[in-house]
Structure formats: structure tokens, C-alpha cells
């Protein structure tokens, strides 16, 4: 479904992504692992068209998207749950979700109502707080809101940038359970994470990004199992 081939991305004079190759097939959960400054967020931004790759291609469902504006890419069915959630703090929960459905304005209202229902079913806490400004929610609730918001677009591919960040371990498990549930409902997911163990526990395959390059690529089981990989790339945990 998504294919990055030899992607090189610069930030000014700095080459952040040096030759990234990765693939996500329909229906999978794939995780992209790596430490700080490995290029994970830049990869997300490149996929979404927020930054343009200097070389290489990004393909989605067989078509090149690396030269398209973000707006078009999003309309093709890719949604992002950004790092640090970045919900609209001054807008209410409901409004945040509505913004998530922005690209689907032409859809019949019945469909939109369904989407709200689906999100509230996944996250009952959000239903309770519909009219509250996003800024008043706790960290965990904001993470749920960010996920819900991304789901409102009915994405075919969901990108998640460090969903575990800043969350207590119990919440992390909850969030990843939800991610699995979303995947079972039919959404393909690419998760970028520092917390390798949790991410690999729900993924089918994993890539490890280091200094802008993919250094390891294997099934999740293999990655979890291989000690030397764990220690070298995934951090002692």
C-alpha cells in the first residue's frame, strides 16, 4: 500500500534521511523504530508531503505522491496522529473530531454521524467530554482525541508518531490495544516508536531507522527474539 524507495530528505543543508526504503502492505501494522534524531518524524513528514524528498519516491496504492501537496495526499486516505498529540487545544473535543473529518465534507451527514459514533465507542471518555476544550483534557485523553481525530477521516493508512510518548505504562498498553482494534477494523497502520517492545508486540513487521538509514528489517517476532538486535538498536529494556 505504501512504499518508500531510496528516499532522501534534507532539512536545509542537513541530510536527515539518507536512503530510506520501507513498505507497508494493506492490513498490516508495521512499526518504524529508532532513537532520537534517527529521522522518524522526518519520515512521517515526508510521507505526508510536509517536506519534500530530495531524491527517491513515495508511492501510495501504486501512485506517486512525493510531489503532491499535503492536502492531496491526505485526501487520498492517509491520516496522521502526530507526535505529542497536537490537538487543537482551543477547540472542543467535538470540533477537533470534526476537523479530522475535514476532507470528508461532501460525505452525507449520516456517514459522519457514524464516524463520531465509532470514535466515541472506541473512546467513551471523549464522549463524556464532547464540549470541553481540548486543552483541558489529560495527556492520555488527548492521545485518544488525536487518534480519534485521525480516524474521522476514514483513512486507509494511519500514521502514528510516537503514541506512547509521555503516557503512563498502563495507558500505553491501553492505547496499543486500541491500535490493534483499529487495525482489526480494517485500517493499515504505520507506527513510529521509541518504545520498541510495545510496538513490536502488536506489529507484524518492523524497521529500525538509525541516522537516516534503515539498518534492520524483519518480522516483529524475529526482532523481539534476537538479543543482539535488541541491545544494539532497540535499547536495553
Amino acid at each position: 500500500m505504501l512504499k518508500l524507495v531510496d528516499v532522501v530528505t534534507h532539512y536545509g543543508p542537513i541530510r536527515v534521511l539518507k536512503a530510506v526504503n520501507l513498505e507497508v502492505r494493506a492490513g498490516e501494522i508495521v512499526c518504524l523504530l529508532g532513537g532520537n534524531a534517527s529521522g522518524k518524524s522526518t519520515t512521517m513528514k515526508t510521507i505526508l508531503g510536509v517536506v519534500r524528498p530530495t531524491a527517491g519516491t513515495v508511492e501510495f496504492e501504486g501512485q506517486r505522491i512525493d510531489r503532491l501537496p499535503t492536502e492531496s495526499i491526505v485526501r487520498r486516505g492517509i491520516s496522521l496522529v502526530p507526535e505529542a498529540r497536537r490537538i487543537f487545544a482551543r477547540m472542543t473535543v467535538w470540533e477537533n473530531l470534526a476537523m479530522g473529518a475535514f476532507t470528508r465534507q461532501k460525505a452525507p451527514p449520516g456517514e459522519l454521524a457514524e464516524d463520531f459514533e465509532r470514535v466515541y465507542a472506541l473512546f467513551p471518555r471523549l464522549s463524556e467530554r464532547q464540549q470541553q476544550p481540548g486543552g483541558t483534557l489529560s495527556g492520555g485523553e488527548q492521545q485518544m482525541l488525536a487518534i480519534g481525530r485521525a480516524l474521522m477521516a476514514r483513512p486507509r493508512l494511519l500514521l502514528m508518531d510516537e503514541p506512547s510518548m509521555g503516557l503512563a505504562p498502563a495507558l500505553v498498553d491501553q492505547v496499543f490495544d486500541i491500535i490493534q482494534a483499529i487495525n482489526r477494523q480494517g485500517t493499515t497502520i504505520l507506527v513510529v516508536e521509541q518504545n520498541a517492545t510495545v510496538a513490536l508486540s502488536i506489529a507484524s513487521r518492523g524497521y529500525v531507522l538509525q541516522n537516516g538509514r534503515i539498518v534492520v528489517h524483519d518480522t516483529a517476532a524475529a526482532l523481539l527474539g534476537a538479543d543482539h538486535i535488541r541491545r544494539a538498536y532497540l535499547g536495553e529494556n
Binding site: L48, T70, E71, L80, P82, F88, M91, E95, F102, T103
Partner: protein
């Protein structure tokens, strides 16, 4: 002192009318600032051009000797023309004088200087094409001076009621648009987090253009109202009105829509009170003083968020 107290209610009414118009113009500044973090220095000129457009419409109607001139249809006609013209002008300005600058990720001062240039350009363009002498709004033909009401013991002209009414309706309309519609949400989203809004699929350029249109249209409407009330307009009126409306926007909290309206009212009232009690020649000083005091002591304004200086400003 007694006669001061006597004219006080009158002055307050005047202040109220002035205040709603300031608020209307201030909305233009605040909308643009909220979304681009730039001060559209040429907004005062857009207001001035709105006043001129209203004048054209009225003069044309008079000249064509269209009978049965009644404010109930003439005023909306003037407003619509002025708002459309002003709105489009704002969009053009954004597209050609500002967008190339902020797109570059350039400093905010490039757009400010370009805006100053646009302001000077527009002032002189109007002066050269319309003449340096003032134009007169034949308001008395629409609103005979005897047409007044007694409101709480004060004699209020219908014109003032119309002004306040129109301004109030427009502000309410804007409020509804921004709070209840999808477009309004996208404007707020872009104002809050532009990158995220883009990731939601919002067409940022379009939203910015629409915001400029709205803000400029409101400024243009303000121009018509001011023209009707003061009856004299000239190419330079945008400068001081613009600065005062900007003061109102800052006072209320720049970027904050309700703040602009509140700031306008407060400024209008303070200014008319000041004129009552001191030398009218210094009334502009009052406005500038308020501006400076606000920016120095509470730059986020009355309703603005408490964001530290180093972040927002």
C-alpha cells in the same frame, strides 16, 4: 461642570456608535493577525476605500435621480458594494504583496514594510484618482436630521441606531461563521496550528485568502458607516482610523475576535469621554497612549491569553 454632565449621555451614545465602528474595523486586524501573525498596515486604507465606494454608490443613485431613496435599501446596497470591493482588494493585497513574503518563511518585518508600502500606495492612488479634496456623503438625504428617537432620555438619531445595528449584526454574523461553520473551524485551526491544519487537509492558502476577504470586507463596511456619520471622507482618513482600530484590537487582545469588539467599544467610549473633558486636539494622543500602555504592560490585551512575550510576540 453642569453642562458637561448634560452632554455626557450624548457623548456616551456617540462613544458607543464610534466604538462599534472601531470594533468592526478592528476585526479586520485581528482576523489577519490571528492567522498570519502579521499586522496588515494597509487595512486602514481598505477601510478608506470602502468609504469611497459607498460614496460612489450614493452619488450615483443621486445623480441618476433614482426616486424613493430610503435607507432601508440604499444602505445595504452601499454596504454590499463596499464590502465586496474591499474584500477583493484585501485578497489581492494578500496574494501579491504579502504571500510572497511570508511564504518564504521570511521575518515578519518584511510583510510589515510591504504593508506600509501598500498603505502609502493606496492612499496616493486614491488621492490621484479621486482628488485631494474631501468628498461629502449626502447623509441628510437618507437620514433627515429630525429623524430621532428618545432613548432613556437621550435624543438618538436613527442613523446612530442603524450604525450600531449594522455593526452588531455583522459582528454576530462573523461570530456565527467562526464558531459554527466548517469554514470557521478551519480558520481557527489554521490560526492555532497551521501545520496540523494542513495535515488535516485544509487548503491553507484558501483559508488565508478567505480570512483576508472577511476582515477587509468588515473594514469596508466600517468605512461606509463612518462616511454616513461624519459625512466627510478623504484619502487620508484611513491612517488615523486604522491606527485607532488597531489600538482597539490590541486592547482587546489581538487575534481574539471578541476582544476586537470589546476593545472597540472601550476605545470609542474613552475617546468620546476624553474629548468631553479635555482639549479635543489631543484625542489622538489618548488612543496612542492606550496603545502604548497596553503593549507595554499587557501586550496580550484584555481578553488575550497569557502567552509569554518570547513565544507569541
Amino acid at each position: 461642570m453642569a453642562d458637561v454632565l448634560q452632554i455626557l449621555p450624548q457623548q456616551l451614545v456617540f462613544g458607543l456608535a464610534l466604538g462599534t465602528v472601531y470594533g468592526l474595523i478592528a476585526l479586520g486586524y485581528t482576523l489577519v493577525y490571528g492567522i498570519l501573525f502579521m499586522i496588515n498596515f494597509a487595512h486602514g486604507e481598505i477601510f478608506m476605500i470602502g468609504a469611497y465606494v459607498g460614496w460612489w454608490v450614493l452619488s450615483w443613485l443621486l445623480q441618476a435621480q433614482v426616486g424613493g431613496l430610503h435607507p432601508v435599501w440604499v444602505v445595504p446596497l452601499m454596504l454590499v458594494h463596499a464590502m465586496l470591493f474591499a474584500g477583493l482588494l484585501g485578497v489581492l493585497l494578500e496574494r501579491f504583496a504579502y504571500r510572497p513574503l511570508y511564504m518564504r518563511g521570511a521575518t515578519r518585518l518584511g510583510p510589515l514594510i510591504s504593508a506600509i508600502g501598500a498603505s502609502i500606495f493606496l492612499q496616493n492612488a486614491v488621492m490621484l484618482t479621486q482628488g485631494a479634496r474631501m468628498k461629502v456623503y449626502m447623509t441628510s438625504l437618507l437620514f433627515p436630521r429630525t429623524w430621532r428617537f428618545q432613548v432613556a432620555g437621550v435624543s438618538v438619531s436613527v442613523l446612530v441606531l442603524v450604525m450600531v445595528g449594522v455593526a452588531a449584526v455583522m459582528m454576530w454574523g462573523l461570530h456565527l461563521l467562526v464558531q459554527r461553520t466548517s469554514l470557521g473551524r478551519s480558520i481557527r485551526a489554521v490560526a492555532e496550528d497551521r501545520e496540523m491544519a494542513a495535515i488535516m487537509g485544509v487548503n491553507i492558502r484558501r483559508v488565508i485568502g478567505v480570512t483576508f476577504f472577511l476582515g477587509s470586507a468588515l473594514g469596508g463596511a466600517g468605512g461606509v458607516l463612518v462616511g454616513l456619520y461624519y459625512t466627510q471622507i478623504d484619502f487620508f482618513m484611513g491612517y488615523s482610523a486604522g491606527l485607532k482600530a488597531f489600538t482597539a484590537a490590541v486592547l482587546g487582545g489581538i487575534g481574539n475576535i471578541r476582544g476586537a469588539m470589546l476593545g472597540g467599544l472601550i476605545l470609542g467610549l474613552i475617546e468620546s469621554l476624553a474629548v468631553t473633558f479635555m482639549n479635543p486636539a489631543y484625542k489622538d494622543v489618548v488612543a496612542f497612549a492606550i496603545l502604548i500602555l497596553t503593549l507595554v504592560f499587557k501586550p496580550t490585551g484584555l481578553l488575550g491569553e497569557t502567552v509569554s512575550d518570547w513565544e507569541k510576540v
